[in-house]
């Protein structure tokens, strides 16, 4: 089914004066796979909303021009009609579900279309096989990880079998293996003659499937390339436009720019950190080697990190975790490998009361994936003061200055942009005086520039003596700022190694896990 946008302008306000989309013309032919790329806030998500009918049927605003699906104008169709030919997957995996269990969710779209029961069951079966997600069937959606939820979302749209698929940053929370699955799924859709529109920063996984990459800037299509053309222009060109790397395999060639903060050459270390049973003194210093010649690193040791929803299947089971102090450690692994659970147990947010009490003593601070949860006061300054004890406005302002936020000190946190909000959350972590800060996917859905900004902030934080643990699926980001890598598998630590010298191993592990 063709999609054509003809002279479309749209503004979320009442007038078209500062429109998000300005006089846009876009023709997407039937069976084409098109990527809409561009920096955050350029209007690419708005374009996806124009196609799936949320504009003009759900979001109010001022619109001019026509959006045609096939030969029908979306303005004349109802949302239910549009949903029969357009399937949408959204960015936020938490709120795109209408059911509480996975089976009903996959069936939901078909049920709404009035497909007979036997056929729905057949479709569910097919989709489950296609997406290789037998293990996700019959589960409670609230117990799934972000990536698993995203998979369910894709599957439930696929089951309804629309002609057009609109995906809004579907890979933001996925590990590279799930991303590879996504590639396969999109490829299959394309082969079946479906039209696929993907809004993305990360292009690498679609470079063999996509027909066109449309670069959106200020509500217009500024450039148009085929993936091969873009790749030929080189990584610097893509980065200058805020795009993520086009080919992950090129990453390992470009590791010359490895972080300078790598101090740890190997795991020899001495530790002088003790606050509770959980954090024990460990001496790993080997005798043969001359310690004075090597840079020494303190190790923080955590014991008995364990959590289970069901006693037989622990989600997390780590007898001992060591973190080099004052450095950034990346945690990688599948969706659902227990990474987020590790963060929560470490910070005393789940687990038994005993675990929680211990966690409170050494105090790790968690910056959540969705920073909106973590900001609740009237101003940025108050936000930083809240966890501080004793409260000292001067120190708070210094912390804000360190994060380039001093000019926003008296603004409402919710009025800031995503990256700024995240820095406020980081600021509140710093002010709480905790030594360990855990980040849960700080770069999901960020464009290249924002990702660089986040890694700079993190490096600054680490150099001020904090120990950072970063859960991430983003190889570019790890190569940019992390110094150690922990790979998790089935709730356990599969391996742990310093990044320097192991970049190839990392990329390999992330591509092939």
């Amino acid at each position: 089914m063709n999609i054509s946008l003809k002279n479309v302008s749209f503004s979320y306000t009442d007038s078209l004066d500062n429109a998000v989309i300005k006089d846009l013309n876009l023709e997407i032919r039937s069976g084409e796979c098109v990527i809409l790329a561009g920096e955050s806030g350029c209007g690419k998500t708005t374009i996806s909303k124009l196609i799936n009918g949320l504009i003009p049927h759900y979001n109010s605003g001022c619109m001019a021009g026509d959006v045609l699906l096939g030969d029908k104008n979306t303005a004349d169709m109802t949302l239910a009609e549009i949903s029969r030919c357009v399937g949408s997957v959204f960015q936020n995996p938490r709120s795109q579900f209408f059911n509480i269990d996975t089976d009903s969710e996959i069936a939901f779209g078909c049920e709404n279309m009035g497909v007979p029961r036997e056929e729905i069951l057949q479709r569910i079966d097919d989709v489950v096989k296609e997406f290789r997600m037998e293990h996700l069937i019959g589960r409670n959606i609230f117990h799934l990880s972000g990536g698993e939820k995203q998979k369910i979302a894709c599957a439930s749209v696929a089951a309804a079998g629309p002609e057009i698929f609109v995906l809004d940053e579907p890979s933001a929370n996925l590990d590279l293996k799930s991303v590879a699955d996504l590639t396969e799924i999109v490829g299959r859709w394309k082969k079946a003659g479906k039209t696929v529109v993907v809004v993305e920063h990360r292009i690498h996984y679609l470079r063999e499937i996509a027909d066109r990459i449309c670069y959106v800037k200020d509500g217009r299509i500024a450039h148009e390339w085929t993936p091969a053309e873009l790749e030929a222009k080189g990584a610097e060109y893509a980065a200058s436009l805020g795009l993520r790397c086009v080919n992950l395999e090129q990453l390992s060639d470009g590791v010359a720019g490895a972080p300078s903060s790598v101090i740890l050459s190997d795991a020899q270390a001495e530790s002088i950190y003790e606050t509770s049973q959980l954090v024990d003194v460990v001496e790993l210093g080997s005798v043969e080697q001359d310690l004075s010649k090597r840079p020494t690193t303190e190790l923080l040791v955590f014991k008995d990190l364990y959590f289970a929803y069901n006693r037989k299947f622990p989600v997390l089971n780590i007898p001992m975790l060591t973190l080099p102090r004052g450095q950034i450690t990346a945690v990688i692994g599948h969706n659902g490998a227990g990474k987020s659970t590790l963060a929560q147990v470490l910070c005393g947010l789940c687990g038994t009361w005993r675990q929680k009490r211990k966690a409170r003593k050494y105090g790790a601070y968690l910056i959540m994936q969705d920073v909106n949860h973590q900001l609740f006061t009237e101003s940025v300054l108050e936000e930083v003061l809240l966890g501080m004890r004793p409260q000292n406005e001067k120190t708070a302002l210094e912390i804000l200055a360190g994060l380039n936020l001093e000019q926003y000190a008296y603004e409402h946190p919710m009025a800031l942009s995503g990256g700024q909000k995240q820095r406020v959350a980081i600021g509140s972590g710093v002010s709480s005086g905790r030594d360990i800060v855990v980040f849960d996917e700080p770069t999901s859905g960020l464009d290249y520039r924002q990702m660089l900004a986040v890694s700079a902030t993190l490096q600054k934080l680490a150099s001020s003596g904090k120990t950072l643990l970063v859960i991430t699926h983003d190889p570019e980001f790890i190569l940019n700022c992390c110094s150690n890598v922990i790979r998790m598998e089935h709730g356990k630590i599969a391996e742990q190694y310093p990044l320097q010298g192991n970049q190839d191993k990392l990329i390999h592990a992330m591509l092939n896990v």
């Binding site: 709120s95 579900f97 059911n99 779209g109 049920e111």
Partner: protein
């Protein structure tokens, strides 16, 4: 043990009206039903906790109600009375909410010829509460990171701060959730005009019959004894 959503609705209405109007004996007879059904759902921990709190408040109330000892005690006693009267209602509703899937509910309502315009908002509501709890937990986590807990010296010194810190962000995100849920529903084609099918099988079975008969028996018993003036346990 699966009940038809219609049976659950019947149970909720009958049980709650009996619980609210009749003496405690009848309300025990009524909420025994969801308690047993919850045991089938393996929620024994919830049932155990429920019964211990319920019994404690009933016994406490019976024991203390004759005492005459100042404002503090009577406040305490009245709290226990409210708890012992209201708790049975919560267990019934908890069972109904917990065990009913959205699509089952929609299908059962369609069988009863309830128009979609009524059932869809109800379904959205049913989906809304778990999400709000999830959200509240996430906010609670964030608060704990900041060292603000429900029971701490700091909140005791300034109890209203907890309102500000927990409820305000919750309200903000609740409006957002409502919005996102409706988007999830409409882009998946849920609309009042179209006729839905359902993968879940809804229909009456033996267990539905048992629940129906049991509920009716209790009601008949209550009405009959009430009319003849021999109401148990006044």
């Amino acid at each position: 043990m699966k009940l038809d959503p219609r049976t659950k609705l019947f149970l909720a209405i009958v049980a709650n009206s009996v619980i609210l109007s009749a003496p405690p004996v009848y309300s025990v007879l009524m909420f025994a039903v969801p308690a047993v059904l919850l045991l089938f759902e393996k929620k024994w921990r919830f049932v155990l906790a429920f019964f211990s709190v319920y019994l404690a408040s009933v016994i406490g109330f019976e024991y203390l109600k004759t005492m005459d000892a100042g404002l503090a005690l009577s406040l305490f006693v009245s709290t226990m009375m409210i708890v012992s009267h209201m708790m049975p209602i919560t267990i019934v509703l908890y069972y109904v909410m917990m065990s009913t899937k959205v699509n089952e509910f929609l299908a059962a309502m369609a069988r009863m010829h309830v128009p979609n315009k009524v059932t869809i908002p109800l379904a959205v509501m049913a989906r809304f509460f778990p999400t709000v709890f999830d959200e509240a937990r996430a906010i609670g986590h964030a608060m704990r990171m900041r060292g603000i807990r429900l029971f701490s010296l700091r909140t005791l010194a300034n109890p209203f701060s907890i309102l500000e810190y927990r409820l305000v962000p919750l309200l903000v995100s609740v409006t957002k959730i409502g919005d996102e849920l409706s988007i999830a529903a409409v882009t998946r084609g849920l609309s009042p005009e179209t006729k839905r099918t359902c993968v879940a099988t809804v229909g009456f079975r033996v267990q539905d019959l048992i629940v129906f008969v049991y509920c009716l028996l209790v009601v008949v018993c209550y009405v009959f004894l009430g009319l003849t003036g021999n109401l148990l346990a006044r």
